[in-house]
Symmetry: C3
Subunit: 152 residues, 3 copies
């Protein structure tokens, strides 16, 4: 089997770019995860995984990551992305991702409600929520991204 991740951090970043993909690339760099290979996962915090805000990952690594992102090409628009990690007492947790046309604060409120809904759906007790969020006002081609890299 594939090894189950043991630690995580929450990050967010935004950027302009000359294309959608290079705006996304710039947002990854701003979030500090631009030089690794994201493998998108959907999206459970493994039991026992530890929060490591200063987690460093070697360039080129394959990194299971839950993320939400939005690219927008309308100058002046405000975009935002957020991730929330719902932590349980001694079981797995749930990760939620959001991106859309909103402020950072709205994104944070939305992601908190999504995490609460995910815990309610499982009949689990929520003991902590780690959130990262960012907002960005588009100049030409902008991207907002929030992510939860899982690591070992």
């Amino acid at each position: 089997m594939l090894p189950t991740p043991k630690m995580y951090k929450v990050v967010a970043g935004s950027s302009e770019g000359r294309s959608s993909l290079t705006a996304f690339d710039g947002a990854l760099l701003k979030a500090g995860i631009g030089n690794i290979n994201l493998i998108r996962v959907s999206s459970i915090l493994p039991p026992g995984a530890v929060y490591k805000p200063d987690l460093e990952i070697p360039p080129g690594s394959l990194v299971p990551t839950a993320y939400g992102s939005i690219v927008c090409k309308e100058p002046g628009k405000v975009i935002a992305a957020a991730v929330g990690v719902g932590v349980s007492e001694n079981n797995f947790g749930v990760i939620m991702e959001y991106s859309g046309y909103s402020t950072k604060q709205e994104a944070e409120e939305t992601i908190r409600k999504m995490v609460e809904e995910a815990f309610a759906l499982r009949g689990m007790k929520l003991v902590d929520v780690k959130i990262a969020a960012v907002e960005h006002t588009v100049e030409k081609i902008g991207c907002a991204l929030a992510a939860v890299p899982l690591w070992y």
Copy 2:
């Protein structure tokens, strides 16, 4: 290299949610795969992989999974998702995913044809097809999902 999966099951589920992502989350839970980390793959059944309908996977595991899903926000609409695993005699197989506005029966017929096309394209003989499908009538925000988790 990443280890090649050795077994699989086919599942489907649907749900309402307060957001697109929590509807998706609910559909995963109904399908019995809501507490694992799906890594989306595109989409071959490895040679020798065994069908295990009672396959249990520990929470938080990284699970290579082929899936199709649809989220719809129009009350009254019927949505469906289906997966089909085409099995060959003694070689790899092919997995197809479908989601769209249709009944469960239409989704099953569509997925069967897609598997047949994939085998014809490879000049391979199809000896069995495993299908899982679900339909859902949207109340507010609904999701239909079908998946083939691959495991070890």
Copy 3:
């Protein structure tokens, strides 16, 4: 952790299909990567990874792959996909993917600029770019795909 890939190739292919997914499947087969399990990554060439144009990968393998693809259902339209791998002197590289309504030549020019932008953003010196691109004129349902499979 997941093992970091050690080699790569660049490929491209296009196809018609009876559905969007079988057109995509056909394009993968034309590109020579139709019988493996693509795990999409976003998208760094690991340090020291070696270019192997004749790389063969066993059927059913889980293969970290950066790719861009487009499916189009408008007869007569020209679609294209391209990937570019930017190689540095002795560090990691950056992979860019493009797909859209353009010729193969335009796709190649676009992808080259995207790789240059990614290197400029990182203040890195670009010493080589490997590109694969394809264009396709749609008959009924067409797909163009370009990919960078990473392997061991």
